[in-house]
């Protein structure tokens, strides 16, 4: 059995088990299964048990907060005060964060327990979790396959029931794609909904944090804690956060759903298309109205995204210089040698590629041809969505063009890896919220369906996913080896 976040809340409230007991259960499962999956970089046993003891004390006094006593895992990109925060990079292998990310502060405020920090693609750059200095993560459904990326460790941990929920970040699909490939639910909220303070930056105009869990119901609980205005994030949205859980029962009667024709074109595996069609029929039966729409600039999203993300990453990652924290090379002869070798030794190949492309795109004489051009196309891509939302409430399609691929299958071809993000990255360019939920299997591997909402309509996404999950049980499936 794999209790979800809501079920654990109820169990703790009813005194069926204590936070210490359930935390010990998860720590034991992590000890048993992590060697095969490699989804945790750090397991924080002592912190977890201390937090669980305090949670039990609070529960006994009737002082429980929203998530008191619920164990969770955090992507190793969120700074955690006093705990190693590596971003799966050699350059931060010795980095003990001196402060908490706002998201981590929020989970502490609401009483959650931290089980550990999860593996990921280095600096969140990747779609397979193979770009980690701690090694690849295995997909619990087939350990020869990738879990997706970049938040692959968090997704694999939830899929294998090593945690009931986990945090991730999504710059071009890094929550939705691993959620799809691991058969769980994940949501990337609207840009600005979740504070980026203390999230190690990759592409600042694209990055958003969000949760993974089995169900939309659980994601609603976790997103509630993560969301809200934060003055320490200069692009945080000054907007009230709705009661995500409260809106879950609204149903989809009369909901207008658009299917972008471009998302069901040639690149999509036919077996995935068939699974998605079946899920669309379920939503029709629940009263949704489905119609075709067009997002004509979809195929521009990959080149546009990679210029913007790489330009922003080359700028963001200039802070890793071997001077104030992180890896420093031995015996530098001068300052330039210190920078170059500390960075050359500290960063992996994919990170170096992206820094170099970004540096090139921003260099004198090329700015207009690359960065400015990409920002113009970014507006066209956003306008496609705005037009679509004039006639529909929600957009639906596949999350990925294929199911989980074999470890190593694409690792020598960066461009074929980038094409995995075709359905997910345009949302980051537009800043829109999106989520992935499991809707079936192809050859034993999970298929994810993506829902795309209008700005700040996380409620609509969660409600639609919840309605579907009331009449399906794909989100409750657990791979046999981890039951």
């Amino acid at each position: 059995m794999a209790p979800g976040v809501a079920e654990i809340q109820r169990g703790l409230a009813a005194g069926k088990f204590s936070s210490v007991e359930i935390t010990q259960d998860y720590l034991a499962r992590i000890a048993q299964h992590n060697p095969a999956l490699n989804c945790f970089i750090s397991v924080t046993d002592e912190i977890a048990l201390e937090q669980a003891r305090r949670a039990d004390a609070a529960l006994a006094k009737g002082q429980a907060a929203a998530l008191t006593g619920v164990p969770l895992a955090h992507k190793d990109l969120f700074c955690t005060d006093g705990v190693k925060t590596s971003c799966a990079s050699r350059i931060l292998d010795n980095f003990i964060a001196p402060y908490d990310a706002s998201v981590i502060e929020n989970f502490k405020r609401d009483g959650a327990v931290m089980l550990g920090k999860t593996n990921m693609d280095e600096f969140a750059m990747g779609s397979s979790n193979e770009n980690s200095c701690y090694g690849a993560v295995a997909n619990p459904w087939n350990t020869e396959c990738v879990p997706g990326g970049s938040s692959g460790g968090s997704a694999a941990a939830v899929a294998a029931n090593l945690a009931p929920g986990a945090t991730g970040t999504d710059t071009g699909g890094s929550i939705r794609q691993p959620a799809a490939l691991c058969g769980i639910t994940g949501i990337k909220p609207t840009y600005g909904r979740v504070s980026r303070y203390g999230m190690i930056a990759y592409g600042s105009s694209l990055d958003q944090g969000g949760p993974f869990a089995r169900s939309a119901e659980d994601c609603a609980l976790l997103l509630q804690t993560m969301s809200g205005f934060d003055r320490r994030d200069s692009t945080s949205a000054e907007r009230a956060v709705p009661d995500f859980s409260g809106a879950l029962g609204e149903g989809v009667e009369g909901l207008k759903i658009g299917l972008p024709q471009e998302y069901f074109a040639d690149g999509l595996d036919g077996k995935i298309a068939a699974v998605i069609e079946t899920a669309i029929d379920e939503l029709r039966k629940l009263g949704a109205e489905v119609r075709d729409i067009s997002l004509p600039n979809t195929d521009l999203s990959i080149p546009t995204y990679y210029v913007i993300a790489m330009a922003e990453c080359s700028s963001n990652l200039s802070r890793f210089d071997g001077v104030r924290f992180g890896h420093r090379c031995d015996n530098p002869v001068d300052l330039e040698d210190l920078y170059k070798r500390s960075r050359g030794e500290g960063f992996g190949a994919e990170v170096k590629r992206r820094i170099m492309i970004g540096t090139y795109a921003l260099s004198a004489g090329y700015y207009d041809a690359y960065y400015l051009k990409a920002q113009q196309l970014r507006r066209l891509i956003k306008e496609d969505f705005q037009k679509a939302f004039d006639s529909v409430d929600l957009i639906l399609g596949p999350t990925t063009p294929e199911t989980a691929f074999k470890i190593g299958a694409k690792s020598n071809d960066p461009v074929s890896m980038y094409l995995q993000d075709i359905y997910t990255i345009s949302l980051n360019l537009a800043g829109l919220p999106g989520m992935s939920l499991p809707v079936g299997f192809v050859d034993g591997l999970p298929v994810g369906m993506q829902l795309i909402g209008n700005y700040f309509d996380e409620t609509g996404l969660l409600n639609t996913a919840h309605s579907y999950q009331q009449v399906s049980d794909w989100h409750l499936q657990i791979p046999e080896a981890f039951r």
Partner: protein, 95 residues
């Protein structure tokens, strides 16, 4: 777009990245293929379109210039590779 070996060396220098000589050719191949992908942007005429920097077209939020952070130098320097008397040490910069 095909880069030359010399281009890759220059970009690596601009990015302050040491690249092993043996790896340069692989970077030439990989970066050129990424730039080919990126060049697809030129299929569309976007002249006159206002560039989008923030997805919500938000502008920079201003705040009062007040001190809100406390001095945590000791804590922050505990994780530094080399410090002395409260300063970060680097190789000599000025002769």
């Amino acid at each position: 777009m095909t880069l030359k070996t010399e281009d890759v060396r220059n970009i690596a220098h601009l990015a302050r990245l040491h690249i092993d000589e043996a790896d340069i050719e692989q970077y030439v191949t990989d970066l050129s293929s990424i730039l080919d992908l990126v060049d697809e942007m030129n299929r569309v005429d976007s002249s006159g379109v206002t560039p989008l920097a923030n997805p919500l077209d938000a502008t920079q939020r201003l705040r009062d210039d007040e001190v809100t952070e406390t001095d945590q130098r000791d804590k922050f320097q505990r994780i530094a590779p080399d410090v002395e008397q409260g300063f970060y040490r680097v190789p000599k910069v000025i002769e």
